[in-house]
Symmetry: C2
Subunit: 325 residues, 2 copies
């Protein structure tokens, strides 16, 4: 692969001159500029970004750690993050932690060794104090860490509230809620808190079941549904903390002869694309996935530029009513 020296020699100019046209600094005549460009074309020269990174001490790389890109929510998030980052001149290094704490740590070290300019952390199984040693720009996704690490999330409490109130308004008297692992200190837990608050307030009976929301394991979900409706056949409403889980519920109800929305009403969460193409289409709480991705990148950029950033950016959610309620 051609180097700047090859270009210089072939164009009959000095390396400094080539560097000058490449970086647009100093005086360069039009003639020289075009000659250099032509030579680059001829040699198919591509400046070595590794060498540049070394000197500039910035790699233009952003690490994205998520549980799993094959989960629709994270897939859409990754898509938006990548697209926006690319517009800003950043490349995304994709890391699937599979919710394994060891892998998470491993990825963080790897990203540090590779001197990424920032990390978007969307997978949270590590202990909080492990984050604090990380001095590189970082933003967490849906988790508030002790230090002043900026977090982006959507209004989880409101989301839970909207879902619960909606189900109650639709006449549900016993509502099940399937949430993520409450021990991980995720902001998504606020959905559960809101749900409980609303149900208590309206004196509606509730059933809460914990699961791993971020890795989808259909068999596990199926088992949960089976157990749920066996133990509580009178459940007439369900609020699932992800559309994927809600979809499984819809499927299960169909299989055991419960009609939706007549017998059971279902509200999902996220509003990923699937929510709209299953039958019946899912009523759900929409998270602004695109804006969250953009916000995450922006928060990283601000940190790189030395700007102060808010510790917690909360984006709005919205209830999308479709056919399951």
């Amino acid at each position: 692969m051609a180097t700047i020296h090859d270009v210089a020699k072939r164009a009959g100019v000095s390396v400094t001159t080539v560097s000058r046209v490449l970086n647009n600094r100093g005086y360069i005549s039009e003639a020289t500029r075009s000659k250099v460009y032509r030579t680059m074309e001829e040699l198919d020269y591509q400046p070595n970004e590794i060498a540049r990174s070394l000197l500039r001490k910035q790699s233009n790389l952003i690490g994205l750690i998520i549980p799993n890109v094959s989960h629709p929510f994270f897939a859409e998030f990754a898509d938006r993050v990548e697209t926006y980052a690319y517009e800003c001149g950043f490349k995304i290094v994709l890391c699937n932690s599979q919710l394994d704490p060891a892998k998470e740590r491993d990825y963080i070290d790897m990203l540090k060794r590779n001197r990424v300019d920032g990390i978007i952390m969307g997978s949270h199984t590590m202990e909080v104090d492990e984050y604090l040693k990380l001095h590189s720009p970082i933003v967490t996704f849906d988790r508030q860490i002790g230090g002043d690490i900026p977090a982006v999330s959507s209004d989880n409490y409101l989301g839970g509230e909207l879902a619960a109130k909606h189900l109650i308004a639709k006449g549900c008297r016993k509502i099940a809620h399937i949430c993520g692992n409450l021990e991980l200190k995720l902001m998504a837990n606020l959905r559960t808190e809101a749900f409980m608050d609303v149900l208590r307030e309206h004196a509606v009976e509730s059933v809460v079941i914990e699961t791993d929301m971020n890795v989808f394991d259909q068999v596990q979900y199926e088992r949960i549904m089976e157990k749920l409706f066996k133990q509580h056949p009178d459940v007439d409403g369900l609020f699932a903390t992800s559309d994927i889980i809600a979809a499984t519920a819809v499927r299960h109800c169909g299989a055991v002869g419960k009609r939706i929305p007549d017998d059971v009403k279902v509200v999902g969460y996220d509003d990923v694309a699937v929510a709209n193409w299953i039958v019946p289409a899912l009523t759900t709480v929409r998270q602004p996935i695109g804006e969250m991705g953009r916000m995450a990148v922006d928060l990283l950029r601000k940190q790189m530029d030395g700007e102060a950033v808010e510790r917690c950016s909360v984006l709005p959610v919205e209830l999308i009513e479709r056919s399951t309620t």
Copy 2:
């Protein structure tokens, strides 16, 4: 951030010695080794991979260009590629081309500038000759390029054949087929070819509609369905070239009162996770996504090691019968 010099100074040894323990070469006493490791811990030293890459002329980076990670098929593919690549010591740079030729070219240049060790090309809107200038290791996904660029795909002809024969065996007499853009020279087109061959052979009537299979645009899909069933109300079978399209078809049939599988039988393609949790569950042709991902990485690795590789690796497909046929 600490450098190897800082470690050396603090540990009271030379830089060469630190490098030796880091790379496990030459003679090192146990005492020195552990002293150096301890010092690294203390300083939270992480060797600068950028500097290493520059010297070694390898970045351990693999570029993955796909239309869109938010498409379930590519999401699952990306997941498998990343996981396997990571096991082999490679990092994945994610690129969503959005099927835009300009973006595709742009990404390729970017990856070259960043001196990735290889590229997995899963988005194909560029002209064939543009690939030939690419001398870095590359493997294409589902497209055979003129030169001898290795391709990985699954047995598309067989897939089309299985789907068509299955629908005919189930009694369909007029089968619609929704395929991708046939002008792009994708190997997926073989599905259509097989489909046509089988239908001709069995004298079954067919309707073929082209679309963009790799970017999912629900509105477009809906419109196609509407038009299809308006123009051909007697269609009693449908073979869609992706599960996502098949899911839309299932949804549409439900909406217009066509019963599945009684009135219309549907076969999808890919067997992504969604196929199994929509209702009714989708009969589909399973592509071995995991193996394809692994194969893509392996083919890249072989090229890096200077081994000769097969020009085309075709993995087996399988018909999974569920409830839509």
